[in-house]
Amino acid sequence: MRLKKARGLGRSMHYPGRLFIVEGNDGSGKSTQIYLLKRWLEDRGYPVFFTEWNSSELIKSANKKAKKKNLLTPTTFSLIHACDFADRYEKMMLPYLRAGYIVLADRYVYTAYARDMARGCDPDWVKNMYGFAVKPTVSFYFQTPLAVSLDRILSGRPQLKYHEAGLDLGLSTDPIESFKLFQGKIKDHYDAMIDEEHFTVVDATKPIEEQQRIVREIVEKHLTDYELPYHLTTR
């Protein structure tokens, strides 16, 4: 058998753009934060490209059908999300990065790591699968105590979908109870990744404005040597 090469996320690919991503439990407020970041960057004239989890047009229909019929096992669930990510990555994220844009991603490969591991996939197998993806410039992890994120979700949106509630894990037959246990597992996986994946942890219990101030400060630091793509400077 071939000797395994040492590997890590991201080939040594050089690109002139920047990649900022947000991760966190459902209800951590990360989507609000990345939206505010996007507004700020756009207002300041930066070329921004935004993408979110599970949004590839091509894969969407297959994914929806499979989920509705509960046809997915942990492995196929994992693979089909990797397809979605790869499609967006190959067609959008990487080309935009190479063209020098600031790419903002609401969830990145770490969402897959946390969810797939919670579903019982092998951690190394999952990480290998996403080995084609570049490492982000900054990975913001919006960390909350479980009770806080659960309360934000459960007080506003009580209709949980099958996989969203993690019902396929068989933790509980009650959707709400299952969701709580599933989110707890996901939080554990996120917390365990902080050092290894170099997450920048943001305390998501702080006021929205304060979190955004912290995020902007960090992003700004990574833009000091950023150069606008040539064709955009002559506008």
């Binding site: 894969i59 492995t75 196929t76 089909i80 397809c83 790869a86 092998d122 197998w125």
Partner: protein, 231 residues
């Protein structure tokens, strides 16, 4: 772990209990038009005559994502990694929902192509071999893997006989090896054969000369299969 006791190539399906199944998994690999399907058909006839329950399967037959694959191939709109992963998804779906349940029930599963076709196809398109090896680590190790070897020259004539024309994908036109289809077919099929040969040792293929007469090839297959099921 003892190599001979392994049931999966890599991480496998960790959430399943590691059981030993009563059934057997037999794989036939080879290029398009190498006679795979004919051999699989004949083998099935014979096994059923001998009293074995047989389930035949192939790649890209599951309903999960095959629609997306067809759609994408028509428009040629997918990146290489995405297409690799789609094929892997399709295969995993069949493995877990068809192959493993059949093996558990004591069937002989005859797979007309397995992960190796996918690995070869991806490898010639530049996928990292280690990435592929680990990606397909969820696959169950077959009890027997046959590889029908053929030179591109013979394959060319088989393609003419079977289809009348050269196929876009089977000529590897998406690789831009040559704008000339005849030339591209030759180079693409040579690259694939090379990749198959690289896998042959690592994955313990029984390599057969596919240019021999159908009956002769079948005879050899049956000899190997008899030995397996008499064990």
């Amino acid at each position: 772990m003892d190599e001979s006791k392994k049931t999966y190539y890599g991480a496998g399906l960790p959430y399943l209990k590691d059981e030993t199944y009563a059934g057997k998994l037999i794989v036939i690999e080879g290029a398009d038009c190498s006679g795979r399907s004919t051999q699989a058909f004949l083998l099935k006839q014979w096994l059923e005559y001998e009293g074995h329950a047989v389930m035949d399967t192939g790649i890209k037959r599951s309903t999960l994502v095959s629609g997306v694959i067809d759609q994408a191939k028509e428009g040629n709109v997918l990146g290489k990694t995405t297409l690799s992963l789609l094929y892997a998804t399709d295969f995993a779906d069949q493995l877990e929902n068809k192959i493993i349940p059949a093996l558990r029930a004591g069937f002989i599963v005859l797979a007309d192509r397995y992960i190796f076709t996918l690995m070869v196809r991806d490898a010639v398109r530049g996928a990292d071999p280690d990435w592929l090896e680990e990606l397909f680590g969820f696959a169950r190790i077959p009890d027997l893997t046959f590889y029908l070897h053929m030179t591109p020259e013979v394959l060319l004539h088989r393609h003419f006989q079977k289809r009348g024309v050269l196929d876009y994908w089977e000529s590897g036109m998406d690789l831009s090896l040559s704008t000339d289809m005849f030339e591209s077919f030759h180079r693409y099929q040579s690259l694939c054969a090379q990749q198959f040969e690289e896998l042959a040792e690592d994955y313990h293929f029984v390599t057969l000369d596919g240019t021999r007469a159908i009956e002769e090839v079948q005879e050899t297959l049956r000899t190997h299969v008899s030995r397996l099921i008499r064990k």
